[in-house]
């Protein structure tokens, strides 16, 4: 018996059991420590990510105000009918179809046509956040909200919410500067994916054009954040936390709505008058497009910027419909969405002579007192055997002996033909084949002004290099000829400027040579308060050297234009002795079309407060068509004629001309 005990030794074997048990428990403790104490961090992140889903709550955009705080773009509350997918999915199939069917019927009846198939397609769109109702119809009548609210039991899953939409108290006023907002597209979403303070989701609105686009950073509100707890099936359990949305900043523009309204009206009227007025040769002016820009030469602020034709930004609210979009992009309507003040490029005609005169005096091609004999035309030196070798003055008038001052006042073409020719002929002495262009570029010609509006055109200062390149790329004569410089002398040939460029060039001259980057906004301020969050200070682009002996004759020449020059008729009756105006007319010829009528000016000339440029396409003489537009603006700006407040339709009188239906001819 004892022997057996020795052999089998239960106490030893019990120890084996104990050792095994201790080892197993020890490994459990070790693993527990490893998971909970060493590795907890990663798993905590995972557990949190498991249970939390976030939904963005859209925030209202900031408003857009004029320089005096008048609201140009406001927010209004609109009713949105949406469907809560989590509720809908709980319904039996027949009930679901019934609800969707009746919803489609009710919305269509209320003027928001939609089919059940369209609703279902929208509900299946995975781009909508799973934890937020899917909007079906935006901006439905208020009655529909009451209707659905009262019948909530009949319409399970249908949610009626409110949202902020853009409202335009002044109607189409300044539509091009303001721009419009729309649903963010995938490209924009990708471009903004690193945006953390105000993140975008696919159904968000974003500025598409104008300051709505370029000042998006300030205008966009900070979306609210709703953190929702979900269970293992992904069904929402409760709202954990909610950060309310914060409205974007209000943007204070440099525009004056009243001046803007006047400018828009006068451009429209100027074009209408041009259409009504037959040319000397009996042809009619098409007068289809026009633009006017008013700047403050002391800081580059844009006081007004009109572009015709225009459009009503209300049609952009909640998206353009297809027919509307087609009409806006039909050539027959001259692209109302384009802002011709920065996208339009025209030959400036004689308004260019200010810059040509500057070049001539700075380079020493002409002295201030050099007398030139204007016999009504100019024979290009070294040119023969071609009728184009002799260039006649506009209208064939001969001005006799003129200095540069008089040449500007009367707009002597011969004088400036000669300036152009001499720059080319004496290029060896003057600094090469771009001697002329070197003196033009400081005025901002041939380059975008840098205004915070997109799609700005750059204009063109032609050079021999450009001509060669153009001939290679497109067609034509690759060699720069004296005639090309002659054409440039009067702002013709291949010279192009935008209305904003020209206005800014004159503003630069007006203030003594400081070229500013034009600004459309002055500051951003917290929503519906006066608290400034960002100031948009004046920005100097360039200091143009403008010595008095150069500036004075040019200045005197410009001041003479409304007094005894080409704009006498337009400014007759204007108190020029108390409010002198320095201006220049321009009439740019366009092949087989009526002339582009141009006028550029600043005033009051000795202490300028406004600089402006007016372009009316296919409208005839600058002095006849465009100078009156500028006159009307100066009437109001000088206080001679009281400035009418802008009306709810955006204009002091009348509304924007209705768009022609697609396909209609225009002549």
């Amino acid at each position: 018996m004892r022997g057996h005990v020795d052999e089998h030794r239960p106490r030893l074997r019990l120890s084996i059991v104990a050792v095994v048990s201790v080892a197993l428990f020890a490994s459990l403790f070790a693993r527990l420590y490893d998971l909970q104490v060493v590795g907890a961090g990663d798993y905590q992140v995972q557990a949190e990510a498991n249970r939390v889903r976030t939904v963005q709550i859209p925030a209202p955009r900031g408003r857009i105000l004029d320089r005096d705080g008048k609201v140009i773009v406001d927010n209004r509350v609109a009713v949105v009918v949406a469907v809560d997918r989590s509720v809908l999915s709980e319904l039996p199939r027949a009930r679901r179809d019934d609800v969707i069917g009746r919803l489609a019927l009710d919305l269509t009846g209320a003027g928001n046509p939609v089919s059940p198939q369209e609703i279902l397609a929208r509900l299946e769109d995975e781009r909508f956040n799973r934890y937020a109702p899917v909007p079906i119809a935006v901006d439905v009548p208020e009655e529909l909200k009451i209707y659905f609210d009262e019948r909530a039991a009949d319409y399970p899953s249908v949610v009626v919410e409110r949202t902020a939409l853009r409202a335009y108290p002044y109607g189409p006023l300044a539509a091009h500067i303001i721009g419009y907002v729309g649903k963010i597209d995938p490209t924009e979403l990708a471009a903004h994916q690193d945006e953390t303070a105000k993140p975008y989701t696919l159904n968000d609105e974003i500025g598409k054009t104008g300051v709505e686009q370029t000042y998006e950073r300030w205008l966009r509100g900070t979306p609210g954040l709703r953190r929702i707890e979900v269970d293992a099936e992904g069904d929402p359990v409760r709202v954990i936390s909610e950060r309310p949305p914060r409205a974007g900043d209000d943007l204070v523009l440099s525009l004056d709505v009243d001046v803007q309204a006047l400018a828009e009206q006068k451009v429209q009227q100027g074009l209408a008058d041009a259409r009504a007025r037959p040319n000397r040769d009996g042809t009619r002016n098409a007068a289809t497009k026009g633009a006017a820009v008013v700047l403050d030469p002391n800081n580059g602020q844009v006081i007004a910027m009109a572009s015709y034709p225009s459009y009503d930004p209300n049609i952009a609210v909640d998206g353009f419909d297809a027919a509307e979009w087609a009409r806006l992009n039909d050539p027959v309507n001259h692209y109302p969405l384009n802002n011709w003040a920065i996208q339009g490029q025209w030959a400036p005609g004689s308004t260019y002579k200010l810059f040509m005169g500057y070049a001539a005096l700075m380079a020493g091609v002409m002295a201030p007192d050099t007398v030139f004999s204007d016999r009504g035309g100019y024979l290009i030196p070294g040119c023969s055997g071609d009728p184009h070798c002799y260039r006649r003055n506009a209208g064939g008038a001969a001005y006799g002996n003129v200095t540069i001052q008089r040449a500007i006042t009367v707009s002597s073409d011969a004088y400036f033909y000669n300036v152009g020719a001499q720059f080319w002929l004496q290029r060896e002495r003057l600094g090469g084949e771009e001697a002329l262009q070197t003196h033009l570029r400081p005025w901002g010609l041939g380059d975008g002004t840098g205004v915070a509006l997109t799609s700005e055109a750059s204009g063109r200062v032609p050079t021999p290099a450009w001509k060669r390149e153009y001939a290679e790329r497109v067609d034509g004569d690759p060699d720069w000829r004296t005639g090309d410089s002659v054409n440039m002398g009067i702002g013709q040939g291949d010279v192009l400027v935008t209305p904003l460029q020209l206005a800014n060039g004159y503003a630069t001259f007006a203030n003594g040579g400081t070229r500013y980057v034009p600004k459309v906004a002055i500051r951003a301020q917290a929503y519906q308060t006066d608290r400034v969050t960002q100031k948009f200070e004046p920005e100097v682009a360039e200091k143009v050297p403008l010595p008095p002996h150069v500036r004075q004759p040019l200045y005197d020449g410009l001041v003479g234009v409304p007094v005894s020059g080409t704009a006498v008729r337009a400014f007759s009756g204007f108190p020029l002795d108390t409010y002198p105006i320095a201006g220049k007319t321009g009439t740019a010829q366009v092949d087989e079309k009526s002339d582009t009528a141009v006028f550029a000016a600043f005033g009051p000339a000795p202490a300028p407060r406004y600089a402006m440029a007016v372009f009316l396409e296919e409208s005839g003489f600058g002095g006849t068509a465009s100078a009156p537009v500028a006159r009307a603006l100066f009437d109001a700006l000088s206080g001679v004629v009281p400035l009418q407040p802008a009306g709810p339709n955006g204009l002091p009188v009348g509304a924007a001309a209705p768009l022609a239906p697609t396909g209609a001819s225009y002549d």
């Binding site: 057996h4 005990v5 239960p10 490994s27 104490v37 590795g39 707890e229």
Partner: protein, 402 residues
């Protein structure tokens, strides 16, 4: 016979005094119910009892936490009520088991064993109910009975009775008979199929044969056969593919395909680990409340402890379970006879294996098999079987002096 092998000199003198032949003789003459003598009750292992009660209560609390619903402010008490009912039944069962001297139980140990076999046979017949591919339950009204759980206890008792009087070292035919007693219920359980519970039987068999005095070489051979059998089961068609995947899934935890089992394990580990040192607080566990861990109130109840009570809480629970096992081991050591020792070792083997397998599974160091965490997992059969097992141990402990 086993009693005579005890070394009386190692027992403290006061206890030895009580163990006089006359006293033993008097005991034997007493009736079944007279046996409930105050003397025996004085020797109840209070530590074991307290540990078991504490772990059970904590388990019930965690069941409430994992079944109360997703709403943080509303408590669904239905599972808690049922579990409390099961616990009451378990405690009553335990008390009943302690009433009868385990040496008397030995005489009719074959009866519960036979009942267990019949139930196991019936459960794989059309009378049983299938869930998730395993036919292991009888549906009794709103309750379910899982005979395999109760069979664990009946087998422990039967094998202890069988081996208590065996010659040491065990002869081959005795080992064979023992394996047969284990093998029949194990085979029936594999028909369900429920590999997890079958492995519990293997663990119990190993522990009891070892202690009963099987030769070392027999133990080695049996272990080898067991390993081959498990590998054979895993590679054969006995189990459905998904069941096999479940078992082997833990070997490839970083696998990127989030299949059901990988998801289960991933959420289980996330729940435990995110509890960190001090836990998220009772009823504050998001993995638990929001139902991210499948089968949490049953097989994965430890994840609720891990998440809500943290390392402090789960280590405490493990500590209580370890203390419980220590007390059972100690009872085996001081048992009055081989029968008592074998009962304790059988229960100990069962509990240690189940605890290691279940808790290890939730932490990804053991395969996912559907076995419960004793005392804590939701379920009547499991709770009843665990408490009956404790009843047996208490029985041995309180009667260690004779």
């Amino acid at each position: 016979m086993a009693r005579t092998t005890l070394d009386l000199s190692r027992i403290p003198s006061r206890e030895r005094q009580l163990r006089t032949p006359s006293e033993r003789g008097r005991r034997r003459d007493e009736s079944l119910f007279r046996d409930r003598a105050p003397a025996a009750w004085r020797h109840v292992d209070l530590v074991l009892l307290m540990c078991t009660a504490a772990v059970s209560a904590l388990g019930a609390l965690m069941i409430l936490s994992s079944t109360r619903g997703t709403d943080p402010d509303v408590y669904d008490l239905s599972f808690l009520r049922k579990q409390v009912f099961f616990l009451v039944m378990g405690v009553i069962g335990m008390v009943l088991v302690t009433l009868v001297d385990y040496r008397r139980l030995r005489d009719f140990a074959w009866l519960p064993y036979a009942v267990g076999l019949v139930l196991l046979a019936l459960v794989v017949s059309p009378l049983g109910t299938e869930q998730r591919g395993t036919q292991a339950w009888f549906q009794l009204g709103s309750f379910q009975l899982q005979p395999a759980e109760l069979a664990k206890v009946t087998v422990v008792l039967a094998v202890a009775a069988l081996l208590a009087g065996s010659e040491v070292p065990l002869r081959v035919h005795r080992v064979g008979l023992t394996l047969l007693v284990f093998g029949v219920p194990t085979a029936l359980i594999m028909l369900q199929p429920d590999l997890g519970t079958a492995l519990v039987f293997v663990a119990i068999a190993t522990g009891m044969l070892l202690i009963a005095g099987a030769r070392a070489r027999h133990v080695v051979v049996l272990t080898a056969v067991g390993v081959i059998a498990v590998v054979g089961v895993l590679t054969s068609d006995v189990l459905e593919t998904y069941q096999r995947d479940r078992l082997t899934g833990f070997l490839d935890q970083d696998g990127t395909d989030l299949q059901a089992e990988a998801y289960n394990l991933d959420q289980s580990k996330a729940a435990i680990a995110s509890g960190s040192t001090s836990g998220k607080g009772l009823f504050e566990g998001t993995q638990t409340r929001l139902g991210f861990v499948p089968e949490q109130h049953t097989d994965f109840i430890f994840t609720a402890v891990g998440e809500e009570l943290g390392f402090v809480g789960s280590a405490t629970v493990l500590g209580l379970l370890a203390l419980m096992c220590l007390r059972i081991w100690r009872t085996a050591q001081i048992a009055h006879d081989r029968l008592g020792m074998l009962i304790c070792v059988g229960v100990l083997s069962m509990l240690v294996f189940q605890i290691f397998q279940n808790v290890g599974m939730t932490m990804g160091i053991m395969p996912i098999t559907g076995i419960t965490l004793p005392f804590m997992s939701y379920g009547g059969s499991s709770v009843l079987a665990s408490w009956l097992a404790i009843g047996l141990v208490l029985n041995v402990h309180m009667r260690r002096f004779g």
